[in-house]
Symmetry: C2
Subunit: 210 residues, 2 copies
């Protein structure tokens, strides 16, 4: 199994590089458990879902409270993440081992939905309110929409659900609960050994009316 993400942070402020570096400091506690490589478009993060989603949460939450250049309040900041597990084109990587995933295959959908809800209820509070828009893709099987609709049912009950949109779902809430919701969607839906991806955008401090 190979699990990872391509991650890009976009602070809408002229000294955006400073905000990105501030966010990266929040990844320090995870660097021993994640492989992290950066180029001019994105940062690759490879590892198990526990440090991976915790790292994404802390990275974004830190950037979202970083004061802007000439502003008294933090800048509008967004983050795009392409998440993937089980891509047939990627090598097996022992660091991506995940016990939750290993048990998914044999667990009925209703039970997985309950486990996902419990995980979100137990998520830590960060004190940072964020918006998320994401799409879950399940590949390599005929009835891929069954798992997607099962996931959407979980999302509606998660406490972080905002609304459905074309091609995607909107979440809103504390970064702790929202990133736990994303981790559960990624892990508990779609076959355990299958190819599952998420296309996800997080946003904080938008000047647009909510």
């Amino acid at each position: 199994m190979f699990i990872g993400a391509q991650v890009s942070l976009y602070p809408m402020v002229s000294d955006f590089v400073r905000v990105i570096f501030s966010g990266l400091e929040a990844l320090a506690p995870y660097r021993d458990r994640l492989r992290i490589e950066t180029d001019d478009i994105s940062t690759l993060m490879v590892g198990a879902p526990e440090p991976l989603f915790d790292g994404l949460r802390d990275f974004f939450a830190r950037a979202a409270v970083e004061p802007g250049e000439t502003l008294e309040t933090p800048a509008h900041v967004t983050m795009h993440v392409t998440l993937s597990r089980g891509c047939p084109g990627e090598p097996d990587d022992p660091s991506c081992r995940c016990d939750v995933l290993a048990t998914t295959q044999d667990t009925p959908l209703a039970e997985r939905q309950q486990q996902a809800l419990e995980a979100v209820r137990n998520a830590p509070q960060t004190g940072v309110e964020i918006d998320v828009q994401f799409s879950l893709y399940v590949m390599g099987q005929d009835r891929h929409m069954d798992e997607i609709y099962g996931c959407i049912d979980f999302l509606r009950d998660s406490g972080t659900f905002l609304k459905s949109k074309n091609f995607s779902t909107r979440l809103r809430g504390d970064a702790g609960a929202v990133f736990e919701t994303l981790r559960q969607a990624f892990l508990r839906f779609g076959p355990a050994e299958g190819h599952v991806t998420i296309d996800m955008t997080a946003s904080a401090n938008s000047p647009s009316p909510r």
Copy 2:
């Protein structure tokens, strides 16, 4: 068939709203053929692939040359696009009718690759150099990687291919050729009536070493 995109533009400059509005002016010629709806996270664009990809190209190319606030050169700007065709959860929409797509089902892979290459050769020049990173997802069939590998072969010959990365492919070149490459990847690979999506990021004027 329902075809569309969720689009977000991210100018890394404090007066980012001005750059976004400048980019939106470039969409004017397409508004009679695209349904366009904006909220605080993204802009939905629904319509056939011809106006859809032309509109995305012109929107991003315009934003990429817009001078920055206190800078003499244009700001670093990125755009994230979630593209989708044939999602079983979306209604049929006559405005999305696409003749290229209708013929795909019966055309062998090698012939589709040649048609895609010819389209990229005939793409207009915009004079705007851009970088793109994207992933193509083909759902609802067992052998989804065959179509993805077939698409990657086309990309390698397209003239816009830069490199492969984990989970994604990098393109670089004139915005005209790059967006034509994306349109061909979206239309000519995966079943004509199937559920195909693209997770795509465009970047211009990055201060990072290329």
